[in-house]
Symmetry: C2
Subunit: 210 residues, 2 copies
């Protein structure tokens, strides 16, 4: 599960492609504005965000920023929309447990070492638009992760009829819960321990429809 | 799992006891101030909270509020401390699955129908003091819930060596994740579905130390 972090390190080729297309300039403006909004959020917090500050920081005219994004909610929603347009696929390690361990390591890293992820989640408690965009981001990620469940069923590891969303929420929710809500001390074994539990549970049919 | 809601409906007897003790007046002042802080948070949001507003709303002198609670973080931390001092015990239904279903119904109700719980969780993203107090509240609740695991082990339902905290976080985290972070549509089957999955997983040894 990748974090909702817009990748600033797009492959050069993709950037060039975009720049060549009509709308390339518009895409470049968008990138500057969204980068500025995210940097401002991470460095100075939600309360510091405004159209004026982001315009100033990005060097894009205030009127342009206002017309396109309207307000802070619009900016954050677009940051998350942009983060959704990537080629991320879930890990494919050859076993359910391996896939869940790998996915959980991504979540864990996002929650413990990436200030962007936590800042965007925090912002979702302040802005309904950001909350809705974050929800859409996660729905898309859980949908992509359905491959993990499908492959495990095909390998005969878990029962047919296993509910993918239930399995994946079970695998990831304890990480968000421990790290964001319970603010547990960081615990390098957590991603693997939870992944192993959920793989055991899935093999026992815990997420199969009855 | 009860919500972190201070019970305003203390049994009359307990209130009288307190009023009789030395410090009864102080306890009454505290109650007025904390009730005012919580009502302000729920009705007008975190940004509206201040020592002045809470003093005005509670009818307690500003200097008293400032001296005792210092700032908004101090007020929210004390709201949560007060919520921790109750006689809540986990449900005891005679089976692991029954206990988890009952506990999850409490969490679900707190997250879907009680604005206090969600407001306090939101505030924990704004105030480190509130976050620390919420963490302590939950640690205490999960500790109390260890009875659920102990009884299930004693009944022979699940393996000795089952980790209670892992089991209980697995049982509750998906509710917080779906309702607070993923903002899923409310789903009356969620508490029971997750509880049943976790009971199945626990019986299969998913939370037993290896």
């Amino acid at each position: 599960m990748a974090s909702p972090r817009p990748t600033s390190d797009h492959p050069a080729e993709a950037v060039t492609d975009r720049a060549r297309r009509p709308g390339g300039r518009s895409a470049a403006v968008r990138r500057r504005v969204l980068d500025a909004a995210l940097a401002q959020l991470v460095q100075h917090g939600y309360d510091s965000l405004s159209i004026d500050v982001v315009a100033e920081r990005s060097g894009v005219h205030r009127t342009t920023v206002y017309r396109r994004w309207r307000d802070v909610g619009g900016l954050l929603a677009d940051v998350l929309n942009e983060a959704s347009v990537d080629a991320w696929r879930p890990p494919d390690t050859g076993s359910l447990e391996g896939d869940l361990v790998a996915a959980n390591h991504e979540v864990y890293a996002a929650l413990t070492t990436d200030p962007v992820t936590v800042a965007l989640i925090g912002a979702s408690f302040r802005s309904d638009q950001a909350a809705e965009a974050l929800r859409a981001f996660w729905v898309d990620r859980y949908d992509r992760c359905a491959d993990i469940t499908r492959r495990a069923v095909e390998r005969g590891e878990i029962p047919a009829g296993t509910d993918s969303r239930q399995l994946l929420v079970a695998a990831t929710a304890p990480l968000y819960h421990e790290l964001l809500l319970l603010r547990a001390a960081s615990d390098a074994d957590l991603p693997e321990r939870v992944a192993r539990s959920v793989a055991t549970a899935a093999r026992a049919g815990a997420y199969a429809h009855r």
